[in-house]
């Protein structure tokens, strides 16, 4: 599948997909989206790169350790839960804060966004980790 067309198209598409996946993550609380979907979308963007350019080429640019991503994600999600315990609430108890910013108006900052970010990282990391392991397997 390493045609010039595929390469050119994916160069243009991958950044957009990644941005979209981040917007899915951040908008998830009120609009369709969320950490899981965002993570899967990010994973598909990267796997597009892997398929079109080949594992070896991407690795020669930068050898990514996806296992670190899901470890970090799991850590973040757990710490979000423990964070509530620091304030003597139950594990994973959520809260939100509304702040007014100039130009942007009222913005709700929700503690579960951090948890969702953890989910995002775990989904991305573990999927790509599996892909890479399978792809490298001889």
């Amino acid at each position: 599948m390493t045609t010039l067309i595929a390469k050119t198209v994916s160069k243009a598409c991958v950044p957009i997909i990644i941005l979209f996946s981040i917007s899915l993550l951040l908008a998830g609380h009120n609009y369709p989206g969320g950490g899981f979907i965002g993570g899967v979308m990010f994973a598909s963007a990267i796997s597009l790169l892997y398929i079109v350019f080949g594992l070896k080429y991407i690795d020669s640019l930068y050898r990514y350790r996806w296992d670190k991503w899901f470890a970090a994600g799991l850590m973040l999600a757990t710490l979000t839960g423990i964070g509530a315990m620091v304030f003597r609430y139950n594990f994973l108890r959520s809260t939100y804060l509304t702040v007014s910013l100039p130009l942007l108006g009222d913005i709700k900052l929700i503690s579960t966004t951090l948890f969702d970010l953890g989910v995002y990282l775990v989904v991305t990391g573990s999927l790509l980790f599996v892909f890479k392991t399978m792809g490298e397997d001889e």
Binding site: L92, V123, V130, M134
Partner: protein
């Protein structure tokens, strides 16, 4: 610092220090043992702070919240008994860790070694200071686990692994029995706090009168016997000698094996003064004492001799703690406690001497040694002092506690009367005679006699002071306690015995107290022991012959058969449960689905098909559904993997279109993305396997599969038809709650996401853990396969 804080710190400090030990190792390199010894020294100071209080008869108590919502607390209780154990554990710990500096080769993984030693020390301290029975159990099993790690320290030696596994199975398995016993105690009294039970005479009376008294006692004694290698459970201790010798000195002579004795002493006030206590504890002790003492003759490994002697000495203590009567519940308590302390000194010393000898001669076989007194005169003197103390020779500390053992045996025999009046003291003397014989064997075989130069290295010399000082210190202690017992007795033994008996205990121990019956028994012991030693070789040869003739007559072969049988059974079980191909799993899953959903659906709904059916399907949906059916058929029929996979993904994408029609954008996006990734995974896999289905499917299998899948389809159809009529009566829809609360409680308008990350956040956390584990699982499967190639 108040005493409770000191004790809590002493328990947790070793764990914290073990965690940062790798960093310390980077700085100290191979001198990291001194760091560990320093930690042990700080623990000793912390524990010693409580000594003045317990000498005055006070106790240290306190608790920290642990799981407050369940009412579980981390509670510590320090009385004379706990403090004595704390002093032994941390004191011997200092010596062992200093000694290890020289004993362990610089090439070993020192960080792992000292980490486990420190963790063991912390667990042991935690156990003896635990007030809560469940907490005691946790620390108890932690000592078993750290012991397992240390016995198996040399991972590449099969015997180490065997010994480690055996010790874990026996001691941790016994711990489970003990836990069951604690649960029974909890059922009887309504509390797991041992200190509360001890201070509450009405609770103790309640336990003694309760019908669960005997089961609880038996279960707890099984746990204690397994840990202290008593009765049939002795088998793990000789195999545990595969550990590095300092570990054997620390865990398997001075501390961990005494955990069972500690437990017996701790529950003494609760259970003693009953016939069952005497029969179980003393009976077990006396039998083990004689059997282990006798079996020690056959051993040619110097550590093996010490292992059997440890079993036999622990059995002395068991027997003494078991001596009880209604009027005098604790006849042998003071004697047992004193012997426990003395045993820790002389046995740890003997192990350290054995370590030196094995280190210098490069063998542990006593038949290859002899005449080492000329090469290592100081080691010879130290070893002789310790061995003579074990044999009960005056003026050493072993003599004092041995005399007290005889006195308490006489008293117990006297109270029981009948033939037991003579049998119990006779058994005690016989046990003492065995001890005398193998103690002499230890000295004679290693240090005296002719030097067997053909087996020994040419140049042997005394070890460095680092290895010599710890046993020398213990040997000096052995002599000092023997000649001036009053300080030790007053500051350590009396508070400990008071802690066990819950009343003030005053002892008068002196080297010479007239010509008593106990002294006479000691003299008989020496004569009988010398006579046994004269026949030593003959007895050992006879034991060898019996063992060779009847290999099945041992608990070891029972254990081996049990363990081998267990792995055979589990293999057979796994063959049934995990056959390998996917089809059997699918069949099982679908059958369970049928059982769980078809049956209740029929029972709840009453009728199979709702009376009114709404079949108003728009044309575009009908086309879509028709395509889905076609694609599904394709997956079942197509011959090539690639085609089948394309058909499967077609089903997935078409379903996502259905979601769009049904106005579920979340689901649609998820479905599309997951389908994409699943297709990629499929393609990654099929590159490496044959491109067509090779398997031949017989007609009967095909018929069975068709039957199951159509039954499942029909069930799902019925469920959907029922669901489309609204929620079936006995249940209420959950969605209203989320519709109402997702904005006010969680501040989000996307209900699905709010449920995922907030209302059911715990589930999501579990799911992402599964995802991580699945990733690691795939990695390990693929990597282990390429390793085995």
């Amino acid at each position: 610092m108040d005493l409770f804080t000191a004790i809590t710190l002493a328990v947790f400090l070793p764990f914290i220090m073990a965690a940062i030990l790798p960093t310390a190792e980077k700085i100290l390199k191979n001198r990291v043992g001194w760091y560990a010894a320093a930690v042990a020294f700080i623990c000793l100071l912390l524990v010693a702070q409580a000594l003045p209080a317990v000498v005055n008869g006070e106790t240290v108590m306190g608790s920290l919240p642990w799981i407050p919502s369940l009412g579980v607390e981390l509670s510590f209780y320090g009385d004379g008994l706990s403090v004595m154990f704390g002093l032994i554990v941390s004191g011997v710990g200092i010596l062992i860790m200093s000694y290890s500096n020289e004993y362990m080769s610089k090439r070993e993984d020192l960080s792992r070694y000292y980490r486990y030693l420190l963790m063991f020390m912390g667990s042991m301290l935690g156990m003896v200071f635990s007030s809560n029975a469940i907490q005691l159990f946790v620390f108890w099993e932690l000592t078993s686990i750290t012991s397992f790690m240390l016995i198996g320290y040399w991972r590449n030696r099969p015997m180490s692994v065997y010994g480690a596994t055996k010790s874990l199975l026996v001691t941790a398995g016994g711990g489970i029995f003990m836990l069951a016993g604690f649960l029974l105690l909890g059922i009887i009294t309504g509390t797991f706090d041992i200190a509360t039970i001890l201070q509450n005479t009405s609770m103790i009376a309640l336990i003694k009168g309760h019908e669960l008294f005997l089961p609880a006692l038996v279960l707890i004694i099984i746990g204690a016997a397994a840990k202290s290698a008593q009765g049939p459970f002795y088998i793990w201790l000789p195999n545990a000698m595969e550990a590095p010798t300092p570990v054997s000195a620390f865990l398997h002579s001075a501390t961990m094996v005494k955990a069972g004795i500690y437990l017996v002493a701790r529950i003494h006030p609760i259970f003693s003064g009953t016939e069952a206590w005497f029969v179980l504890v003393s009976g077990l002790g006396i039998i083990t004492m004689l059997a282990a003492g006798f079996l020690a003759f056959r051993q040619t490994d110097i550590k093996g001799i010490l292992a059997y002697s440890t079993i036999s000495q622990l059995a002395y203590m068991m027997a003494m703690y078991g001596y009880t009567s209604y009027q005098y519940p604790g006849i042998g308590v003071a004697a047992a406690t004193f012997h426990l302390f003395n045993h820790a000194t002389f046995k740890a010393c003997l192990f350290l001497v054995a370590g030196i000898v094995a280190h210098e001669t490069a063998t542990r076989d006593i038949t290859k040694m002899g005449g080492l007194r000329k090469d290592m005169p100081i080691t010879f003197i130290i070893g002789t002092i310790a061995a003579l103390s074990m044999a009960g020779v005056p003026p050493l500390n072993g003599f004092l506690s041995k005399e007290m053992f005889y006195e308490s045996s006489l008293e117990m025999g006297h109270i029981l009367g009948g033939p037991l009046e003579y049998l119990i003291p006779a058994a005690a003397v016989l046990g003492g005679a065995f001890t005398f014989a193998y103690s002499i064997r230890f000295i004679d075989g290693i240090f005296l006699g002719r030097r067997r130069s053909e087996h020994l290295p040419k140049h042997m010399h005394e070890p460095t002071p680092v290895m010599l000082a710890p046993p020398a210190l213990l040997a000096i202690l052995v002599i000092l306690i023997g000649i001036f017992p009053s300080a030790t007795v007053h500051y350590i033994i009396e508070p400990a015995a008071s802690g066990i008996l819950l009343e003030d205990v005053h002892l008068h121990v002196s080297l010479w107290h007239g010509f008593t019956a106990a002294l006479l028994m000691t003299i008989i012991t020496f004569i009988a022991g010398a006579a046994l030693y004269a026949k030593y070789g003959a007895i050992a040869a006879w034991q060898d012959r019996v063992n060779a003739r009847h290999p099945a007559w041992s608990f070891n072969s029972l254990y081996d058969r049990f363990v081998d049988g267990a792995s055979g059974t589990s293999t057979a079980f796994a063959k049934v449960m995990q056959p390998g191909p996917l089809r059997p799993y699918l069949v099982a899953m679908l059958m369970i689905f049928l059982l769980l959903s078809a049956v209740p659906a029929v029972m709840v709904a009453g009728t199979l098909i709702p009376a009114e059916l709404n079949f108003d399907v728009p044309a575009y949906e009908a086309v879509l559904l028709g395509l889905i059916v076609l694609a599904s058929l394709g997956t079942a029929v197509l011959k090539k993997y690639l085609h089948a996979i394309i058909a499967v993904s077609a089903v997935g994408y078409l379903v996502s279109l259905v979601f769009i029609y049904l106005q579920a954008p979340d689901l649609a996006i998820t479905q599309i993305l997951v389908e994409t990734l699943a297709t990629i995974i499929f393609l990654l896999v099929i590159i490496k396997v044959p491109q067509t289905f090779r398997e031949r499917i017989t007609r009967s299998v095909l018929a069975r599969d068709l039957l199951i899948s159509s039954a499942v389809s029909v069930t799902v159809l019925i469920l959907l038809l029922n669901a489309s009529q609204g929620i079936v009566s006995p249940f209420e829809s959950l969605s209203y709650y989320f519709i109402e609360n997702s904005v006010p409680l969680a501040g989000g308008y996307n209900m699905v996401n709010v449920i995922l990350v907030d209302f059911r956040g715990y589930d999501t956390l579990g799911e992402i853990v599964v995802l991580c584990l699945a990733g690691l699982g795939v990695y390990n499967l693929l990597k282990s396969r390429s390793d085995s190639k």
